[in-house]
Every structure is written in structure tokens, then in C-alpha cells.
């Protein structure tokens, strides 16, 4: 069963609220129409107080900028607790999206972009720690299947060790886990066996023939090349490719992502160094736990 990855909204909101020394307030139900500056909130979110208190505060609206990028602007007036006017006008219409505005004027140390960057970096740190820890329980859930690899060809770039090799014994057969045999010369000899004398020392069938007992063995060399017997092979391996839409570490590590993220966020000039030290200790312990295969 595949593990559920960390919820990106939960991680972003938690990091934003915990690192909120700049007064950034994270909201989830912003609405704005392209060409207008009227920002409204739904649900029970009612963040505005008055024009006198909120005017001039910076605002970020997810996806309301040009071509769906994030919108940056300032509050120019407050209509009521759920509606304000922002400047400039939005370039894209959005409904029910994330929004953050700074509760403290001129204090923008942890913008939503900065939080996102830290969040993805922390996610990658956790992912890589799982990938690099032999036998980690979560490996099977974050590994991906490579494309076809010829025997003697390089395994695609990956993090850590490969999980295993799936071998297609004969054309059109299913890909099944192969047996690792730590002797590449043996594998080469089996591949050379045609079944016809003098190349029949290992039986009457070649390694890709139906019913052959020669297929299904593999080994890698120190240069990351794969050798196997069979018709085709694919590797299960780890490749962290950042996605703006999702995190990739298991959800059970959400708290660890927060700890690691906070340790990095709090390192910024002007933040509390003692808090950074505490978060750093949490993060250090968390990384050790992950690399020990714990939860």
C-alpha cells in the first residue's frame, strides 16, 4: 500500500504560523477577480480590522498574478472584516485559494515564497535520507520504476541504492523481481549461452528463450552499470524531482518536516537564535531517526 505524502497545505500553514515573527497570517479561502482589487474571504475567515489598521500591509495571493503566478500587492482599504481592496488589481481570477498578509507592517521576513522554498528543501532532505538508508521501511513507497535498461547499460541517475531490479524473462512477459547474483562474469557467460554447441555449457536454451532457467539474474558494477539475463529490465529507484504541487515524503514525517523547516527558517537574520538552536536540535534528532529507519 502506497503511503500518503505530506499534505502540502498543512506543511505550508504550519510553517507559516510557527515562523510568524513577521506577522504573516495564512488564510485558505481568498477570492479575487481579474482586473479588480476586491479581495474577499469565505468560510469563517475574517482577517481584516479597519483601513486604519490594515492599510499598507503586504499581501500574497496564490495564483492571482500574471499567468497564474502568485500575486503581490498592498492593502489600500478595508470594507469590512472579510473584504478589502488591494493594489494593484489581480491578473487572474482565483476562488478559495491560499493567501497570506503581513500582520505586522514592514515585517516580511518569512514570505510565503520563502516558506515554500524551505518546505520543499526539507521535503527533499527527508526523501533523500529515506532513499539513502538501506532497508528503510518507506523505500518501497517512494521508489519509482525506471524505463527499460539494456544489459550492460548505465542505470539512470538516482539517489542512494536501487531498491531492486525487475526482469522481463521473455518478450511480453511480466516484469518480476530478479535474483541478485554477485558475479558479472557468470551473468555474461549465461547471456552468451545460445544452447548450441559450443555455446551450450549452461543448457540447451538461450537466456531469453521461453522456459529458460538462465534468465532472471542481475548485478551492478561499481560504475552504476546493470548486467542481467533476460529480455528486458527496469530498476526501482529514487529520483527526487521537485513538484510545485505536492510533497513526496510520507505524511508520517510531517512533524519532522516542520522541525527541519523551522530550523532553517529561524536561521534568518533578526530571528531568535535560541529558537533556531532548539529547532535545530529537533531537526538533528529527526534526521537521525529517519536515517535509522525509525518513525
Amino acid at each position: 500500500m502506497a503511503l500518503v505524502p505530506i499534505d502540502i497545505s498543512v506543511a505550508r500553514r504550519t510553517l507559516a504560523s510557527l515562523s510568524n515573527s513577521a506577522g504573516w497570517i495564512s488564510l485558505q479561502t481568498a477570492n479575487i477577480t481579474t482586473g479588480t482589487g476586491t479581495l474577499t474571504f469565505g468560510g469563517d475567515e475574517a482577517p481584516f480590522v479597519s483601513t486604519a489598521q490594515n492599510k499598507g500591509q503586504p499581501v500574497v495571493i496564490r495564483g492571482a498574478g500574471a499567468a497564474g503566478t502568485d500575486y503581490y500587492g498592498l492593502i489600500s482599504a478595508v470594507t469590512n472584516s472579510t473584504t478589502a481592496t488591494v493594489t494593484p488589481n489581480a491578473s487572474t481570477t482565483v476562488l478559495g485559494v491560499e493567501c497570506a498578509y503581513a500582520g505586522k507592517i514592514n515585517d516580511d521576513r518569512h514570505s510565503i515564497q520563502e516558506i515554500d522554498e524551505i518546505m520543499f528543501e526539507s521535503d527533499e532532505m527527508i526523501y533523500n535520507a529515506i532513499a539513502e538508508t538501506p532497508g528503510h521501511w518507506a523505500q518501497a513507497d517512494i521508489a519509482v520504476l525506471s524505463g527499460s535498461i539494456s544489459s550492460g547499460a548505465a542505470i539512470p541517475t538516482h539517489v542512494g541504492n536501487i531498491v531492486d531490479v525487475l526482469i522481463q524473462k521473455v518478450t511480453a512477459a511480466a516484469y518480476l523481481p530478479g535474483v541478485r547474483w554477485r558475479c558479472i562474469p557468470d551473468i555474461n557467460n549465461w547471456n552468451a549461452n545460445t544452447g548450441t554447441a559450443p555455446l551450450n555449457a549452461f543448457g540447451t536454451l538461450g537466456p531469453s528463450a521461453a522456459g529458460s532457467a538462465l534468465s532472471g539474474y542481475w548485478e551492478t558494477d561499481s560504475n552504476n552499470y546493470l548486467f542481467y539475463t533476460g529480455s528486458d529490465a527496469k530498476c526501482r529507484l529514487f529520483t527526487y524531482i521537485r513538484s510545485a504541487l505536492a510533497l513526496q515524503s510520507p505524511a508520517i514525517y510531517t512533524s519532522k518536516l516542520i522541525n527541519i523547516g523551522m530550523a532553517r527558517l529561524q536561521l534568518k537574520d533578526g530571528d531568535d537564535p535560541q529558537a533556531a538552536s532548539v529547532w535545530g536540535k529537533f531537526a538533528e534528532a529527526d534526521m537521525m531517526i529517519i536515517r535509522a529507519g525509525g518513525q
Binding site: D186, A201, F202, G203, A213, L214, Y217
Partner: protein
């Protein structure tokens, strides 16, 4: 029996996993296993019953010219005739309905022979015969029923179990001693 099945059965009986001994290595011993099995079946000292011995015998046709029949071809066939058991061969010529009598060597052919019986012996890869009338230059087509080494694919299924047991014995002695497997769990 196919090679794959043979290898699987040998590994299972030896309680070995493929990570310890891949099937191709087991398969590479099949010719040795077949040779050993054929030797044992044909050799009376191993006590194989007559019906099993008969399963590993077949009739070869030998063209004898001037008392000499070349056996190089049947001895090099995919399922070769086994010359070491010549004393048990049934050699029949067209001159008599009685099987020829085996002699130890070529010099024995010079001795007196039983009246009405042909005699034969081997000289390297040749069959030498003296027919029932005492002719040493007899020319005729002979049939020789002799033990042979079978191919695994052609082995009578009655002998499958003997082949696997022989395979286990040979493989166990041929590979380094494997540690006992830890129980899984």
C-alpha cells in the same frame, strides 16, 4: 524433464536458494549427471532393476565391412553408446539368430569359438566380429543393443527421480559448503 524443472528440484531438495546457487550453475552439471546416472543404471553393482536398465538401452545399427564395424559415430552421438559395458551388449548379425558372444580383446578372437556362434570384441572405436561360420572378413549390417547416455529432455520419466537424486549428490559435492539457511520471519 526440462532443464528448469531439474534445476528447481535439485535446489529444493538441497534446501538452497537461487541467491546461493543459481539455476544455470545446476544446469551446467546436467551432462555429468546424465553420464553418472547412465553408468550407474548400466552397472550391475548399483542394483538398478532390469526394467530401468532397459530404459537406457537402445539399438544402434553398425555397418560391418570385412569384419570391422566403426563405432566412432554412435559413440559421439548426442546420446552416445557406452563402450565400457560392451560385455552386456546384444550384437546380432544376419548370419545367425543367436547373439554374438563378447570377448575380452582382439586376441580372444583368434581362439576357438563355440560352434555356430559369432563372437565380437572392441578395438578402440571399432567393433570386430567373427561370424558364426568363423569368417573374419564378414560384411553385413549388424544391430547392437547397448546402454547409452540419455539427454535430459529425452529421459524416460520413470528415471526422473533417479536423475534428480544423482544431481543433488553431484551438485552438493561440487559447490562450496553452504551455511544453513536462517528461518525467515
Amino acid at each position: 524433464m526440462v532443464e528448469n524443472t531439474f534445476a528447481l528440484l535439485v535446489l529444493q531438495r538441497l534446501k538452497l536458494k537461487e541467491e546461493q546457487l543459481p539455476k544455470p550453475i545446476v544446469i551446467s552439471y546436467i551432462p555429468t549427471v546424465m553420464q553418472t546416472l547412465a553408468n550407474r543404471v548400466a552397472d550391475p553393482r548399483f542394483g538398478f532393476p532390469q526394467y530401468k536398465q532397459e530404459l537406457l538401452r537402445k539399438t544402434f545399427t553398425v555397418a560391418v565391412v570385412s569384419g570391422v564395424g566403426p563405432l566412432a559415430t554412435p559413440m559421439a552421438a548426442a546420446e552416445p553408446m557406452m563402450a565400457q559395458f560392451a560385455r552386456g551388449w546384444i550384437v546380432l548379425g544376419p548370419d545367425t539368430r543367436y547373439p554374438y558372444t563378447a570377448k575380452a580383446d582382439e586376441s580372444s578372437l583368434l581362439c576357438d569359438q563355440p560352434a555356430g556362434l559369432g563372437i565380437f570384441t572392441l578395438r578402440q572405436t571399432d567393433l570386430l566380429v567373427v561370424n558364426s561360420l568363423g569368417s573374419r572378413v564378414y560384411t553385413a549390417s549388424f544391430s547392437v543393443r547397448a546402454p547409452y547416455v540419455p539427454l535430459l529432455a529425452n529421459l524416460n520419466s520413470t528415471l526422473d527421480d533417479d536423475a534428480v537424486n544423482t544431481g543433488c549428490e553431484i551438485v552438493r559435492n561440487a559447490v562450496p559448503q553452504q551455511p544453513e539457511m536462517e528461518p525467515e520471519g
